[in-house]
Each structure stands twice: as C-alpha cells, then as structure tokens.
Symmetry: C2
Subunit: 351 residues, 2 copies
Amino acid sequence: MENIKRTEIATLGEFGLIKHLTRDIRHKNPSTHKGIGDDAAVLQYDHKQVLVTTDLLLEGIHFDLTYVPLKHLGYKSAVVNFSDIYAMNGQPKQLTLSLGISKRFSVEDLEEFYAGLQLACDVYGVDLVGGDTSASLTGLAISITCIGEGDTGKIVYRDGAKENDLICVSGDFGAAYMGLQLLEREKKVFTGDKDFQPAFEGREYLLERQLKPEARKDIIAELARHNILPTAMMDVSDGLSSELLHICDQSHTGCRIYEDRIPVDYQTAAMAEEFNMNLITAALNGGEDYELLFTVPLAAHDEVITIPGVRVIGHITSPALGACMITRDGAEIALKAQGWNSLSEENDHPQ
Amino acid sequence: MENIKRTEIATLGEFGLIKHLTRDIRHKNPSTHKGIGDDAAVLQYDHKQVLVTTDLLLEGIHFDLTYVPLKHLGYKSAVVNFSDIYAMNGQPKQLTLSLGISKRFSVEDLEEFYAGLQLACDVYGVDLVGGDTSASLTGLAISITCIGEGDTGKIVYRDGAKENDLICVSGDFGAAYMGLQLLEREKKVFTGDKDFQPAFEGREYLLERQLKPEARKDIIAELARHNILPTAMMDVSDGLSSELLHICDQSHTGCRIYEDRIPVDYQTAAMAEEFNMNLITAALNGGEDYELLFTVPLAAHDEVITIPGVRVIGHITSPALGACMITRDGAEIALKAQGWNSLSEENDHPQ
C-alpha cells in the first residue's frame, strides 16, 4: 500500500484534470451529439437539440455566506447556468436543484435561497423540475443542472472560429472581480462593530455584478434578430483571456485583441486605482463577468456593431501568430490563462 | 435582525421540506411534462420523452471513504441514478458528473473513481457527456445528473396505482443495510492493527449489495418482453415501506402487503440474528436496495409471476383501509416511513 503512486491534482490543473480523466470516452448512443468540452452537452431528438449543463457550488470555494445574501446566491446559482445555455445559442428551459445543507440553516434561510432561484427562473422563463435536499456535515453545497433547447444547425460551439473572424464581446469586464475585492476588504475591516457601515457608496455597479449577475439573453435575441449566427461562442466565467484561449485552442487559430477596445466600466477603473491593481489584468483575468464572447465573419461587421452593448475587440488569426493582446503603446503580449483555477495551490482559499 | 423567525429543518423532514419550498411552482414551458415529485422529471420533445434525475452525494453523509473503495463509489454513484431512470420505465443514456475534491485526493484516486463510473456507464450503455471539477474545503462532493429516454405513453409514474392492483418487487430486501452494519462494525473493531482481517467471510452478498449495487435494467426488459406496463413504479432507495407509502399517497390508495412474502436473502437473515435486529424491520426500512417496486393490474398476475426475480407481495386497496402489513400471525400493522431521512436530528451522523 505504501508504494502507490501519488500525483498531486495541482500538477494538472482543472482543465488538464478533466481532459486526463475523460480522455478515453467514446459515445455509444445516437442521441449523444456532443459531450465534454463545451459550455453544455448537446443531445439530439428528432428536430430538436437539447442542451445540458451542470454546476456544483461549494461554500468557502465558490461563495462566502458572510457577505452573500442567500436570496442573491439562489439567483446567481441559477443565472450562471442559464448563461452556459445562452453561450451555446440556446434557450434555458428546465432546472434541477440539489442542496446539501448543514444544521445552521433554517427553513427560512432556504426559503430565501429558493425565492432568489425562483425569481431567476421567472425572469428567464425556466421551470424548476427537480429538487433534492440532504444533510451536509460541513457547508452549503449547491448542485444545479440546466436543460435548454436549440434549433438543429443553430447551436454554436467553441471550435468554429475562422481566420479573419471578428472577436466580439457584450458588456464590460472586471467589475464582478472588483466587487469581490471590495466585499473581501469590507469583511476584513468589519470587526464585529454593530454600527459598522461598509463603504459601498458609488460602488453599487461592482456589487451588483458580483452578487446579482445577469445572463445575456438580450444579446442572443439581438443576434437572432440581426440574422447573425456566431461562428464560435462562450460565456465569460473564468476570465476573458482564459475563454479566448479556449476558443483559439479548440478552433485551431490564433487571435489579436486590442487593449484599448476592451470595455471597462468607470467604477471598475476607479476601484482598480484605489486598490493599486492593474486594470487590464482585472478585466482580462477577473472572471465571473457572465458576458458573451463570440466570433462573427468579417462580413457581419456593419451589422454586429449596431447591437447595443456589443463591441469588436479584435480578430481571429492563423494559429502560427499565437494569441496576443496589442497594448495601447503597440506592444504585443501573449495572452495567458490566469483564469480562476480553483484547484491550484495558491488559490486554495475562498475567492 | 434578532427577531427573525427560525424554523428548524428537522420539523419538516426531507420530503416535507421539498414540498414546502416548491409549493408555488407553476410550469411555463410546453416541454416541461412533469416536474418535481417522481424519480425523474419528464420532458417532451416531439415523439420522445426525456427523463432527468439528479443526485448529490456528500462524504460523511452518503458514504464513508474508510471502507468504500473509490472505484466502487464511482460505480454506485452512477448506478443509483440509472436506477431512477429505470424506475420511470426509461433507459438511461447520458450522465454528467461534477466533483468537489479536497487536497487529500490524488490524480490516481480520481482515476479510480472515474474507472468505476466508466465501468457502470459501459455496463448500462450510458455516455458521460459533461464533467466539472472544483476544489472542496472539506470532503468529497459528487453530483450526478442522468438523462434517459422513454416512449411517449410508456413512462410509469408513482401515481397510477389502482385498487386491486398487485404489488410486485424485484430481488430481495435488507441486504444493503446489513452490509452497511457489517462494515460499520468492522470499522469499529479495526484499531490500526496492520494484520487486521475483517470478518467478511460468508457475508459477500451483503457487502456487494452495499458497495456495488446494480440497477434492474433486466426487469424493465422482461416487463417489456411480457407486454406488462406497470401502473405505478419506483426504485427502492429509502426503504420498501417508505416507497410504498409514496405510491399509496400519490395514487390516493391504501395497500396490504404480507410479511411472509417479502423476499429476504439467507445472509441477510443470518446477519440480523447475529446483530439481534428485527429482520423484517431491516427489510422494510433498510434502504439502498435499488430494487423495483411496482404495481400491475390483477389480470397480469399469471404473466408477471413468470419473470425470474419478481414476487407479488400484496395488493392495492381503497384509501380508507390505510397502508398495512399483515404479519405471519395475521396481525395488521400500519406501515411507517422510517426511511432514510438524512435531515432528521437523530440521523445527523454518517450512515
């Protein structure tokens, strides 16, 4: 027993680990259209394609209940799953929820969580179809599976980007990350003083992006209205840089994005300055933006720029050119996947 | 903040809690055919009905890694989900897996878990289509969602049992529970002695039922071959008594089952005697049998008894008669849902 080989998980990282563990999988069923490797799996039934995505959220790793209200947590838990379905150009339709709960939670606590989840379901037109609760010896565990629908031929994967395609994003980046930094700072400042008032004034947008994100259903509707079918698409949960590298990797391309085109909100910039952080690093690697990152053919340029909230930030290149950002002063720097790797050694604390 | 009402979850119990939290749910989508309240949700796409079931398994609550090998855990985690799909008269087709893992696990540990899961997928013809891993601050968390297919009109729910229907079961009961008692005893006896040999001889069946259960795909195939469509069906995970009460409750009926007809294996009986436990209590309330409990019309009697491993244990009655077991000496005792309620106070330890 003493000689069993032991490889630390951190040596592979999250994506490497999944790749390693699922490398030998061969599909057996005709209804399995696409398996592991995108925002959602794709199943095929007659003329309908069905999308399945799942998320496991654990207390202390994915959320901190000292500053996340349970109603917000319920809302966000649902929305991050809807975001994965929209990222495939589908519509979320059903959701199942499993909860592992410890004794410190009351029925009223769970009512709060469900109220948030149900609100998200109402806003996005999704049905809660399965529930399971059990005890947990430790913290709160939330497992959600979301099922969506798409039209055959209209599902958008990560691997369809072509040379010269335009790289587009919705919304702005880095705000949710800055919101998290702000919440963490106020948590440290708070020392049990009853009259403590956290310094959130003028930072409401950052808090909202962190605590109550929205999925870009509106952008998916606009793309359809403009008859634009993206060649590749993802939602930005682990950080813009990391997701763009996924698209390039799976599409076998390179890319060029431009620092001065990456959309950043004023509050994000002000906060970065206050924290003495590099703004563009936060925008590229912060994560949890839940915006859409997609590529469209060059011919769609004039049409896509008319969609409110969509911005062209660069273009797809041949793979030989690598994945780079052109800085404001014209330097070319390689994009790195500094995304949210919750399995690495240095990140083994709540974040 | 101090006056917020706090209702302990134990006052509602697991089933009561889910009922309470989901009482106001109204479905919005035409593809949502059946939501919460059965072994799986049912979605409708053209001529195909799609089944979705999900399970969250937490270390210390649902399994104890001191005596459950990771490969077995992987196998069992998949099989218990397949069992839910068969219990709807469907065929499992796809599975997604999310894992929350702490640092004490190595890549080799996870390879073991995946090997067991993949073996189950191969045996039952299921595709692993989605994977997600993240860190966990505490124990291992396993979330599995299984998707299955069924023919429209052939899905079997819990609410279809009719008066005079026969109550049938597959296999035998109480063995998995006795296997767990045995493992718990040997864990206590084991005091770190390197040469310790657990006393498992002649108890292999009990261990197998606990550590490597199978789902009754064979029974579903036999029922189809004999053209028998059950009127109601469930799989027995929480205990025969508890599941039968679910069927009676949802079908608005009563039932009579007979103590002397409840199938029990010889090893289960021997172990109950050794532990000085009531055998029939273990068979009725032990749980984790993953056998099928189903009802068929009286007219199917001669056909159903020809299926190997199926046994008629009683019949459905009018609701006024309640749900009872007739003992060997002719006494009538009310069935109770002593099923595995992991949220109750007295069960808040590993089991």
